[in-house]
Symmetry: C2
Subunit: 264 residues, 2 copies
């Protein structure tokens, strides 16, 4: 008989987060309330919004003075009408590069994201939530604290957000940073069903994990900012990941024929 190990996705509900806090403490309190314990080999998925708020990476919109460039830019988020110039200003400040067009697509941490990841939902009126300052570092730090406090040996942490897809409706997950597991598994050289070597395949394990977590996390008032993935066939590692390794230069990307000069 064949044997298949199944994988579990366990969402953890928390209270609403109101400001800067210690993230590990917040997580451990929720786990205690839920009577769930982390195990060796678990992957912990954390919403980037929670991380950003816990780090105080939020902006009071009323304090932003829009530049002339921001005022001039008749641009919209998601095609829903002209944007508040203060939000445009915030995007110009946050983005590595804003791609010209009718919508506010920007490069942020190497990813093409609407409004450079700035979000007004799940925030009090007048407050914009930015992305975590450094999701890689936050993942690494949270993992280190949890390994120590819970006396675990194998644990992965991924900080995730949702993202729009080219030409398709609906948001999927993206991992902004991770630690403790191979977020991109190189399966080149592995054999296929006919014994031929796979030549080009890398698996975006962390991004797949982000999308899996999105299934149980919710986007509204569900307040489930943590998901534990248990018995995932992940490769654990203590090596610090290199964020540069996930990026592909636009000219070397398989979609290069699709991009215009503003990306290339």
């Amino acid at each position: 008989m064949l044997y298949c190990v199944s994988m579990e996705l366990i969402p953890i509900q928390t209270s609403r987060l109101e400001g800067k806090i210690d993230l590990a403490h917040f997580f451990l309190s929720a786990m205690e309330r839920e009577k769930i314990k982390l195990k060796n080999g678990d992957l912990l998925v954390v919403s980037s919004k929670l991380v950003a708020v816990s780090e105080g990476n939020v902006v009071d919109i009323s304090t932003i003075v829009p530049s002339a460039a921001a005022k001039k830019r008749n641009i919209s988020r998601y095609g829903t009408g002209k944007e508040d110039p203060r939000i445009v200003e915030l995007v110009l400040r946050e983005a590595e590069k804003v791609i010209p067009g009718n919508m506010m697509i920007a490069l942020k941490d190497g990813n093409l994201m609407p409004a450079a990841g700035i979000d007004l939902s799940n925030a009090p009126d007048g407050i914009a939530i930015l992305l975590p300052k450094n999701s890689w570092q936050s993942a690494w730090k949270l993992r280190a604290t949890l390994l120590k406090k819970l006396k675990l040996k194998k644990l992965g942490v991924a900080i995730i957000d949702s993202r729009c897809q080219p030409l398709r409706w609906g948001t999927v997950g993206i991992a902004l940073g991770w630690a403790g597991f191979d977020g991109i598994e190189d399966v080149r050289g592995q054999k296929d069903l006919y014994g031929k070597s796979l030549k080009v395949t890398r698996k975006a394990v962390a991004d797949n994990l982000a999308s899996a977590a999105q299934l149980v996390m919710g986007e509204g008032d569900e307040a489930r900012p943590f998901v534990i993935a248990r018995d995932a066939p992940a490769k654990f590692t203590n090596k610090k990941p290199d964020p540069k390794k996930i990026r592909i230069a636009p000219s070397e990307c398989i979609f290069e024929g699709v991009y215009n000069k503003h990306v290339l």
Copy 2:
């Protein structure tokens, strides 16, 4: 106390598929061998490659006579060197539109896909596997057969593939067709943590499910072409999905500023 329902992903191993077969029968035999039963409320994820092979949607490469256009096109898949003109010919035949560039990105069923989804891995030497002819119809048909045979009321089926991501390494999942559940959940109007209405959010549930399944499916010789997602918080429906509804016209897509004239 708060209560969190966890979700399970159960991979189903099968024998290697050698040619045209009845897909429902192949699945039910594997389930019997594994002693696993489908339950009401399960989502069944099926690899598109398995579906294509089961439908005989494969091509003997030696039978292809490349056109002059295919021979002229000095193009490569994945940047791994000049492509066999017969494969280029196959891409030209299969694609809705081939985007000019160094790599063979093509529009196929509304998606930007390398080589229009044509794949040589997990196929015998000299054979190319195409995408299923109509993944929507195949999902609908498989679901209907399983509902009847197993006397179930609520069942979702999704046919999935892997896809490359813009500017990032690694493949994630994509749902090519689905039936029996809301593959794109419209959460506009739902309240966020502060009681504000979410304005623009749609969740790509089927694509997230595809990525979740990729975590346990494997890309090599694992032969796990089915995954059951159990206790997923999906919205089940008996309505036939409308494939046109998932597509966004390039000019209306949030990434419009990113595309060149060949896409727009």
